[in-house]
Symmetry: C2
């Protein structure tokens, strides 16, 4: 049915292997022969069958990305940027992205990750999300199967990983506010501190506050959540402090928008009475009024770096044991709120 390498060989009047050599550059082929071959390929619109190729080369030219059936990992807009970043690196290197979705019945994500490895349908894996499972890594590592953690806890340096520097992002946010003249700076965490990124931001905040010399005042920290209304109550609490903060670092943009609403409702002018810095630089920060100064996570770069690293691992440009831990800086996008 489909055109095969045999058809090309016949059309060009050469042996099958010569076509293969010419296409892959795996042996020298006379210029003239080459031209005949490439003409035949173009004429017939020949593309090597990936399954046949994969069977012998043990390479699929696919990168796997596993997604939970509940799709929690897809919840955030941010994933789109990651995929774009992945795509840039992948397209450049001629890889495709294989998104594997869990079957509704099978509850164990770990097993599913292992399955895409066992089926050999990808040459490497990008593992992203917050879920920190240990088991799949073991089998993957022991079999030296290439994979890169993206935005996950980096397992004591035993796995290649790419992450955003959340700690530095929060630190910079405080520093930015200090430069604007603030000293009483509060933090609302993006969610519980059990989540890695949340803890990192918390730590960055503390480091910056301690450097300020006033010491760390626990009453200036509130724990936010994924509740869409998270930020209202925390703002009210923070602003009713005897020594109220003049600035708030909100762990996520949505929370920042709630902070602004509540503060405005209480009669505060933003940013004059209260400065607000958000996190994630999502569309929310652009649409809010006033627009929100926000710490941008380099999601696109993270995707790009993760895919580039994985490809180097696959192609042997980086040794498997030479564990890479890439941490990318966050940048502050200045807008009206601070």
């Amino acid at each position: 049915m489909a055109v095969t390498i045999k058809d090309v060989a016949r059309e060009a009047g050469v042996a099958v292997c010569t076509v293969s050599f010419a296409m892959n550059g795996s042996a020298h082929v006379a210029e003239e022969t080459k031209k005949r071959i490439f003409d035949a390929i173009e004429k017939l619109n020949y593309r090597p069958n990936q399954s046949a190729r994969g069977l012998v080369t043990k390479k699929t030219n696919n990168i796997g990305l596993v997604v939970e059936e509940t799709a929690e990992g897809l919840e955030n807009t941010i994933l789109l940027d990651v995929i774009k970043g992945l795509g840039q690196a992948l397209g450049k290197n001629n890889y495709d992205l294989l998104l594997s979705f869990q079957k509704p019945q099978s509850r164990k994500l770990d097993e599913h990750v292992l399955d895409v490895y066992r089926k050999q349908s990808a040459d490497g894996l990008i593992l992203m999300g917050t879920a920190s499972s240990e088991r799949p890594y073991e089998e993957l590592v022991s079999k030296r199967f290439p994979f890169v953690l993206l935005g996950r806890p980096y397992q004591e340096k035993v796995c290649h990983s790419v992450n955003a520097d959340n700690e530095q992002g929060a630190y910079d946010a405080v520093q930015y506010l200090v430069r604007k003249g603030h000293r009483r700076i509060a933090l609302i965490t993006p969610c519980s501190l059990e989540v890695d990124a949340s803890l990192d931001r918390y730590n960055g905040y503390i480091r910056a506050m301690e450097e300020l010399g006033d010491g760390f005042d626990e009453s200036l920290v509130a724990i936010g959540s994924f509740d869409p209304d998270s930020g209202y109550a925390e703002t009210e609490k923070l602003l009713s402090l005897k020594q109220r903060p003049t600035a708030i670092v909100a762990g996520r943009d949505v929370i920042a928008s709630r902070v602004i609403e509540k503060a405005q409702a209480l009669g505060y002018k933003i940013p004059d009475d209260l400065a607000v810095v958000g996190f994630d630089n999502t569309v929310v920060s652009q649409l809010a009024r006033p627009s929100i100064t926000s710490v941008e996570l380099p999601m696109r770069s993270m995707g790009f770096e993760a895919a580039s690293l994985l490809i180097k691992l696959i192609e042997g440009e980086i040794r498997y044991d030479d564990v890479q831990t890439i941490v990318l800086p966050c940048a502050i996008r200045e807008r009206e709120s601070a």
Copy 2:
């Protein structure tokens, strides 16, 4: 290196083909033998090599989704919902999603679409986006390669397609406002009318307005754009009409949020002085204050239906020539702005 069907056969003490028969149910195997085989599979963690399987069955169990290098198609948050919907259907049926990114150099998306077909790395294709190219379809159709258009112009019923009923969505939005007592209802289109979805919404609006009996007043229509500030000027213009509208249907949520801001700045109360209905039901409509009543596009269902349809096509449950045109209804999510 990896465990093969031979290993399983040896472990279970049967012939290779018996293992294959047992796994695929393609021939009867005695219960007892079956048990030995499945025990061996479990013990060895055997999973059939996808390339080998694909080579002989001519099936990859992959669905292709082509993405332009510029990733325009990925621009909207909405794609995430589509992917979730695709994933639901795919996971259930044991297919993976192959996202193929264009190489930076190759400028022709059409060729790239054809390449994933020619390489035989997917059993079918989901084509989404607004770009309407004709050429790839021809080759695909003539070779009877399964593909489904998602949110694209549906090419005079020659291609299977899944779409949202934008026309009805706009019609319903007007009807909804009429029920709230409005008659002077304006429309700001989501973008130029060259885009299919935009035109459909425009037509739905017109149909509803004409049914009202007051006839179609062109001055009540403004053409919006993708400019982030689109909506400001249009609102100003519409509200300065001698007979100003009491309600505005905004073609996108972002535009609706601009309408609200501008109207509020001009002293109008929402929804009392001016009712506003948005489109797309994005996070913007939830975060705006007042929150925005919005027409929801069934992106998740569209993804699910598109994948389900494609799988039926692939597996022969639907004849290739029995062209399916699935149009899914939009629903109005009532909030504060109307």
